[in-house]
Every structure is written in structure tokens, then in C-alpha cells.
Symmetry: C2
Amino acid sequence: MNAFYTGFRTFTLVAAAALWMGCGPQGGGGASDDLKPAMTGSIAAVMQERGLTEADALAAVRTYTPTGGRDPYLLFASGGHAGHVVVIGVPSMRILKYIGVFTPEPWQGYGYGDETTALIASGDRYGKSLTWADTHHPALSETKGDYDGEFLFINDKANARIAVIRLSDYTTSQIVTSNLIESDHGSTFVTPNTEYVIEGSQYPAPLGGGYAPLEEYNDNYRGAVIFWKFDRASGKIVPEQSWAMELPPYMQDLADAGKLVSDGWIFMNSFNTERATGGTLEGEPPLESGASQNDMDYLHIIDWRKAEAVANSGRTNTIVGMRVIPLDVTIEEGLLHFVGEPKSPHGVDVTPDGREMVISGKLDTHGTVYSFEKIKKLIESKTYAGKDPYGVPILPFEESIRGQVEIGLGPLHTQFDGDGNAYTSVFIESKVAKWSLADLKLIEKIPVHYNVGHIATVEGDTVSPDGTYLVSMNKWAIDRFNNVGPLLPQNFQLIGIDGPQMQLLYDLPIPLGEPHYAQIIKADKIDSVEIYTPIGYNPVLHATDPLTVTAGKERIEREGDEVHVYMTAVRSHFTPDTIRVKEGDTVHLHVTNVEQAKDATHGFAIGAHNVNLSLEPGEHANVTFVAYRAGVYPFYCTEFCSALHLEMAGYLLVEPR
Amino acid sequence: MNAFYTGFRTFTLVAAAALWMGCGPQGGGGASDDLKPAMTGSIAAVMQERGLTEADALAAVRTYTPTGGRDPYLLFASGGHAGHVVVIGVPSMRILKYIGVFTPEPWQGYGYGDETTALIASGDRYGKSLTWADTHHPALSETKGDYDGEFLFINDKANARIAVIRLSDYTTSQIVTSNLIESDHGSTFVTPNTEYVIEGSQYPAPLGGGYAPLEEYNDNYRGAVIFWKFDRASGKIVPEQSWAMELPPYMQDLADAGKLVSDGWIFMNSFNTERATGGTLEGEPPLESGASQNDMDYLHIIDWRKAEAVANSGRTNTIVGMRVIPLDVTIEEGLLHFVGEPKSPHGVDVTPDGREMVISGKLDTHGTVYSFEKIKKLIESKTYAGKDPYGVPILPFEESIRGQVEIGLGPLHTQFDGDGNAYTSVFIESKVAKWSLADLKLIEKIPVHYNVGHIATVEGDTVSPDGTYLVSMNKWAIDRFNNVGPLLPQNFQLIGIDGPQMQLLYDLPIPLGEPHYAQIIKADKIDSVEIYTPIGYNPVLHATDPLTVTAGKERIEREGDEVHVYMTAVRSHFTPDTIRVKEGDTVHLHVTNVEQAKDATHGFAIGAHNVNLSLEPGEHANVTFVAYRAGVYPFYCTEFCSALHLEMAGYLLVEPR
């Protein structure tokens, strides 16, 4: 407990006493009777005028960040089917950046220049251009189980893809996809030293993209978990060193990596162990019903270090280029065990000490705390309660858990602080519950508005959570904000958790995207460049571009119908500013922003040609286009860069053939 | 002046006095010596811990909006080359929505379904697909010179396009483009009853998209201003009723419509009356230099009611389908006059009473106040100082103005309050200046951070500005926020202007896009629907979709290789949830969200097919795709809609041929 909690009321009593004793000036009204005497100062006057309570005013000063101020924490959230990542300062709750990932985003020039277009296209599947994604779970890279601030990974649930974002400049640097699975959800999660980025499938399908009738679901549809090998030195996932495990056709869901004592293991939950397949127009119950018949689904317990050894031993089948450990080998080698988990679980969360795993079922009222030590002993002693239809051994539930905590209706996702407390979102009640890990007792619930999905505490997925703030990622906003049409923003609610009681501090509307999951990192762990240096850096190449243009060396070179334009940008002109080509020419534009002043970004756009670049200080970009039609097309700088920004322009002159 | 300004200091003195007299509890420290005695309450403790000043705390309570609170004002900003529109609550400065306009945006499903894809494609030029835009100037629809909250218009500078957004549901409903001009900037602006949406060209080019060498600039390049006729009943621009005026090849810039006494006129400024064309690689000075030689550019004064009559009289040339009044007719009919405007002007702003126009030159230190009455008399008496090279009469500068106000270095854009004050952004000084319209005296300047472009006051472009807040749209942020890489957010600074001194209240980073201009409207003027009713509304059609699906009437119909799927979505299943087609089939999906609960949005996505819809309550959407590859593809709801949202899924089964 700190001084924050001695109460605003103290101030009002002091001021009231002063007034009563004739110490202060008279005047002002009051928001409530007992506050009236205090409403003399300007803060009190504003509170009255705006209808703010004492708690509101305290929340205001706890979150307000004056000009030039910095946030101690940064939240990284997925953008859902907007296909990007959102960066938010905590506690100011100001959105600082949307990072383009799978969806083209022209402000960043992302998906418009040659390299970023190729980067997005590298995520195409079966040659089909994919221009959006459903990003779900961002994972910060870790060292020894702590966020290290170097990389961020993010999945695409819809198309089973993974992207790597470099936090050294907040840009996407890689997109990988295998055709092994058709959708993912248990991703991305990382092992404690980011050896692997985990991608678990969601909706089963024939592995490798083949066709099988739905009637062959049990036999020919499968789940899988892919272990994407990450190479920190190059900052890239190495597909050739990655491998996967075949899983039964349940709907695998979220995952978490063991840490400390449980390092070397991953835990992944699942639903629809009923193997229902819907059929609403064919006389069958919908999946929501068919998948909710069993009281228990299966927590998947995977010994990934042992699996890695098996994969490297060659006991794999190669499917669409991916080494896959078949289910029979998995069972034979003891790589996978199941244990029951209560109804409709969503997520499994390993405690900071790595000793326990917390799981909640949305149709159950409990949080269940599994003991890694107990589970390991059961595995070692081969104490099974049975096997699933595919032969995977099932551990006895009661012997696997330490206990359960009664949370409420629809518990969903659990995070932790550094003081031994757990926080669980409660979807149906629209609350966040705080409970004690030590004695499994509910401590407190705070209402949130409304339908909370995931929650994030500061460094809450690490071995050392910070325990200052919690963000409740509410799926519905309903009556929280001004009406801006039938598509509502999501609502991120900031909750202070460093006092004796949880305090609702701020409602942040998310104006674009439907974030699903977030992680919060201490801001000073990230060391991003402010400009690109030396001049000529290409973020996608992560190197100086070989076609970088030096001031004074600008030129236009023609080779047949191919025209290469080597251009520089500097406040406030392009060189060259006149480009003369012939109709049908292919134009290769190589532009270097030769600025080295922070924030001296230039844009480059040509009308009617869909050409659009964003050139940060020192950045080089290339773009290729066909001069498809004779005419006169202005080009100009799209970033307001100086008083003479409007004059930073030129012409593309396309002469008729 | 109101109670806000009696000063936080009053409170501290009261509390200090109380303490000194032994009235209150002891304890706490102090942010500064004279505050120490007051630092007992929790607000004071937080202020000390977070290093907040008195002004900071006051700004905090002036802007903080507690959960469920509403903003009295909404700001609509362009998104620059991100191609969208941003909606921000004032004073909370929370971004409430990004509205997709020219750029596809998957969260909204915008540019993914059949109708929204066609809508974006309707803005293609010369058959070239354009997937981004450079949005610059949003204009709210007006009635009698006041914002009426019905529509918003926005331009695309890069490709000379205009979009119409319905504020009844915050969606884009129309995109128009003519091939008359190649870029625009003096757009969008509306006449006082939204009779017309004005689009002025920026960079001259041969009218109608033809080719002419740059050497023929003076003779064959032209500017133009298009008067797009708006039909309020249908909510659409009517291209056939629209017309344009040919202008000399200067770079026409921002515009404003006259109002009240000056209703019937528009004013448009310009730069590069030198007709410089750059040539940085060809031994010529850059445009920034060539266009800055003259001391004066030309304010364009257009009598649009007279021009409308001329256009309707048939004295036009039809160029690429647009009726254009030729420059010689314009001159002969007296539709256009020039008057000098000081160096590098950007924008012309008509005062709320319609009597005067304020112009600033970025390379001049003054604001110049033009008198409409004087100008009208000079026009009536044909008192000219000369003619431009094309024969356009030039009015004498000194006789056209009431006077000038010394503002500072780089004055740029002027807005107004309701008390006779003007506010001008000062780009080079990074300040906002407040000055008196009555006596042309500078009152006060407040620093902003940094490089302010446009500013917006509440209802500042209307006949009745509100005068409560001003937003400074700063182009650079430099050191204001956490480092998030070399591409920085813009910085919108909220300034309180309802007190005797301007107060900086809030810094809002803009995380996506580079807004150029904004308008702020009273929120209660906009009446948006919360759900679509009756069920089956298609926002692009602005009507019930003829293919709407009723619950119980879901079906799959095959016609040769064309498969029509009539589907409903409701928590938490699709009907049908199994779609069986053959490889090569064209699938037409017709989906109705039959929900009528607010916020009960469903998404619909199919993996590997780039299919993605957002279905607000009651909305119907259609999407067509080819089942291009045999396989098994999950589809699912992408909006977290219920506890069993993950189970809202099904399969597209593509059988091999």
C-alpha cells in the first residue's frame, strides 16, 4: 500500500476544515453534499462542472501524462482481423503506433514498395494473395523467461501464419507459413529463451492441405503443433530447422511454455474433444452444442526437449516440407500426455515460478491449478487414468491438480502479479477476479464493461511479473463511448493493481481492430533506433540497400524499356524532380531519404499509379511500376516535412509511344 | 472566464492554511516548497510521485473522461496517406474510430465483400487499381453555414478523388473521380447549404489526362476547380450535374466558401504563380526555390452562383465527361478575380460573419485580413491593378484588405472562436497565436510541439464557432512520446481556449496516418444508428439487400459451377456451417447477421481464400470467391461474440474435380 490510497477524501476534509474555520476563500458549489465546502479550488470546480467523483480525479492524475512525458510500460496487442499490431503506452493509455504486419498499410508504405510487397506476398498460401490476417497472440521474445525487448511474434489464426517484428525499429521483418495446418490459435508463444516460437493448430484438417470428406474427420483430420526455430542472431525463423508434432483432431487452443522448473515443457489446452463437426443445415447440432457435451477436455502436456531430440533423430514424416513427428511415435516416445481440464477451457497459464499451470473453463466456475511436480511424477510412474481414442495416455485429474478456486461465471484467462496473486477474467460476469495462489481464495472482483476476453498484467507472462497495472481487454463496449455507428470500438480498461483494492483507472476505446491478446513490457527494455544510419538502410533487407543513392549521384538510366531512377529526398525537394519515360516502360524507382534528423520522414507518391512510399530518415526504398498510360502525373512528398513541403513535388511525364 | 481559472493554487493555499492552523492531518511530502503542506491527500501524493505540476493536474481533470462518459465534441481528421478518416472525442482525446475510405480495411470488412470492393474500385483511374489515398481535408456537411452532422466529405490529393461518408452509420457510401485533374488540394470544402462539394486542383497538368511536354507548361497545363453537385436526399454526389472551371497553371491550394454576406462566392489561394517546374537533375532550381520568387501569389475569388448559371447556360467545353467553363469565358463573364496574397500562402479562411477572409503566407510574418465588401466594390467598379498572363483581372492589394496583423514566423492556418478572436498556427515558431479580429492585435502565443500545420477550433469553420477547444495538429513529435521507431506518431495537442489564457491540456499521439486537416462538431448533432434494422441492411446499397437471408430460409443453391450460399449468423453459429463445393466452383456467399442486439457484430472469414467480412447487427453482406483448390478450409467468426465464440465455425470442403 502506498500514499495513493490515503484517499482524496483527506484533501477534501482538510479543505473543508479550513473553510469551516474561515481559513480560505468562500465560493463554489459541490458535487455532493459533503464535498461542497471543498469546491473552491479550480480542480474542485472542474470536477463539479464535469461531474467527476473523487475516484475519477484520482484516476485522472494517475493516468494523465503531460506533454513530453514517457510511459513506463508499453502494451503490445494484436489487432484481430485488422491484421496488425497495436502499441499502447501504459498508464497514459495512448495508442502510440499501429505496426503493419499482414495487411498492407500505406502510411508506413507497408506493402507498397518492392520489398514490403514481397514480404507480405511471402505469406501467400497456395499462390493465393492474402491481404489481411486475424492476428491473435503477440509474444515478446524472452531471455531466461523474461521479456528481453528484442522481437515480437504474432500469428494469423485465419491462415496459419507467423510474423516476426523487430523492435529495433518496430517493423515487420519476416512472415512464415507452412501448409501443414489450415488455422492456428495456440500461437504465438515462445520458450523461455526464444529457442522456439510455438504455433498450435485450431480447427483440424487433413495435414498438408489435402482433401478428405468431413465424414472422415476422426481418421483423416488432425491437429498439429509446430515448433518454429528462431535464430536470434539473424532475427529470423529458420523453417528448415523447424519441426512439428501430429495431434489428434481436437481443437487445440492456447499454449504456454514451462519456465524455470518446468522449462522444457509446453502446455496446450483444447476443446471439442467430442470431435463434433456441426452440420446446422444438415440436421446436426451446431458446433457450439456438439463441442460442449463432455465435462472435460484435454490439457496437452508436451515434453518439447525430448520431442526436439526425436525430431532430430529422424523419426519424422516430411509433410509439405515440414518434419512431423507422427502420433504413434509421439505416444511411443512419451512426448505427449493428456489430463482433463474443465469445460470449454481457453488458455493455460504457467505461474511465474513455473511450478503450476492455471486453467479455467468458460462453462465451469473454477480456476484449476495443476501441479507440474505431480504431473511429472505421474508421467514418470506411468500412472494413467486411461487413453484417448488415439492412444494418448491420460493422467488422472485429481492427482494432477493442487486444487481449484471458485471464481464465478465464465472464467477465461489468468495473469499474475509479483506478490503471489492471480487475476482471472470472468467473461459472463464481466469482471476481473483477484485470488491468492497460495490458498486458492478469491480476494476481490472488479466489474469491467463488458465481456472481458483476455487480460494482461505488466510482464505477466514472465518469471517476474511487475504487478502494477492490469489491462482488461473487453470485447463489447455497448454504452461506454460516444456512438460512432453500429461497429463499436473494443474497450481496454486499465486497472491499478498495486493497492489493496483494484482500481478502475481508464477506458481506452480501440478505434481500429479487435485485439485478442496483449503483453505489457517495461518500456526501457526496448532500444529502438530513432533514425536509420548509415544512410541507405532498407528495413526489410535489414542492411544498407545495394541500390542506395548518395546525394550528388542521382541519375536516370535506361536499359531498353527498363528505366532506373536513382533519387534522393531531402527537405524540400526530390532529385530528380522530372522523370521522362515512354508509355509502356517499366520504371524502377530507387529513393533514398538522405536526412539524418529525427522525424524528418518523407513520403513519395505518384498519382494514378498506386505508388506510395514512406521514407524514414536514412531509409532507402525501391518501387517498380509500369508507365501504363501516356500522360502527366504529379509526384510529391506526402509527409508535411517543412514550410515548403507543398513544393516538394515533380512530374512523371509519360510520352506516348 | 469561468471557475476553471480561479487556480489550483487556491486549493493549495486553503489546504496549506488548514495545515498551518492544525486543521488537518500531517504527512506527505511536496512537489515544490510552497506546495509541501498540501501534499497530504492522495491526489497530491500521486502528483508528487509522477512529477505532475498544478497545471498538469488541472489539465488531467479537464480531459479525463470516466468510464461511460461522453465527449461533447467529435473531431474528424483526415488520415493523410493512410487513406482513411479518424474520429476523436474532445476533450478526452480518445480515438473512437478509423473509418475506411479509400484504403481497404479488414476490421470493417471494408474492401473485402463484393459491394465494398466495388465501392473502392469505383475510384480507380484509367482502369488502374488504387489501394490507397492521401486524404487531406474533411468537410462536414452544412446547413445555413453550420455543421448539420449528416455527411462528411474527404478528398484524395494523390489521385484527385472525393468520398462521401454517411454519419448515420459512419461508413463510406460513395467515391467519385473525374479524369479532368491529376491531383487536388483545395478540397473538400462545401458551400453553406452543401449545394456543392468543392475540389480544386493542386499540381497543374493537361486537363483531361492528356500528355504535353513539361516545356508546354504555360500553354497546355492548367488548374481547375470542380463543383461537385451534392444531392442530400440520396446522400450522393451527382456527377452529371457537376461542372468545373478552367484555371491558370498556378498551384491552386486551399479554399473556403463565403457565408452569410459572402454566400455565393468561394475563395481559393495559390502558390507558384511563377510557374516554376523544377528540374533538379536538369540544372534548374528545385520547385521550392522557383516557386518562392514572387512576393505575392494570387487569391482566387470566384462568383460560384454566376458560374453555375454560366455552366448551365451551356458555355462550357465537355472534357472527359465534365462540363468545364473555359478560362476565356470565365474572364469574359467576370467569374474570377485575383488579388495578391503574401508569400507562400496556405489556406484562406472566411470569418464567421462572412465579411472577411484571413490569409497567411508561410514566408511572411503577417496575417492579412481581406474585406469582402471592398473586394466586391472593386469587382463591381472594375478597379484593377492589372491582369495576369492569362487575362484574369487582378484587384489592387491595398484596397482589398482591411489590414494585417503581425503574427510571427511561418503563419499558416486560421480558425475562430465565438468571441471575435482568431487563432493562427505558426509553423516555424511552433506556436499558436491568438489575435483580435477587431483591432488586429496579437493577444497571446502558446508553444506547441512541434511544427504545427492546421489547427481546428470547435465548429471553427462555421458561422457560429463554439470557442471552447482548439486542436493543434503538429507534424513532428520528436521528443514528445516513447520511442517507437523512426516513423513517429503525429501529435495532436488539445488547447483550452475558453479562459483568459490558452492552456495546453493534452498531447495525443496519432498512431496511424498523417492527418492534415480536421473539423470539430458538437457530438449531439450526429444521430447515428446503433444497429441496422430491419435485418438485412447493406450499408453500401443503403437499403435492405435483395439477397437478405431470413432465419429458417438458409440454403445452398447450385447453378452449374456457380454455388449460392444463403447463410445466417447468430450467437454462436452459422447456418449452414458446412459448405461442400467442387474445385473450380464460383461461390457466392450471402450472409445476414440476424442479431438486433447492439454490439453483436460477427465476422466471417475463410482461411486461404482472402475472405473476410464484418457483419454488424442486422447487416447483410455478399462475397464471391473461386474455390480455386481442393482441400478443407475452416471458416469462423472473427469477432469475439460469446463464451462459445471459438465454436462459431464450420468448414468449406472443396472436393477435387
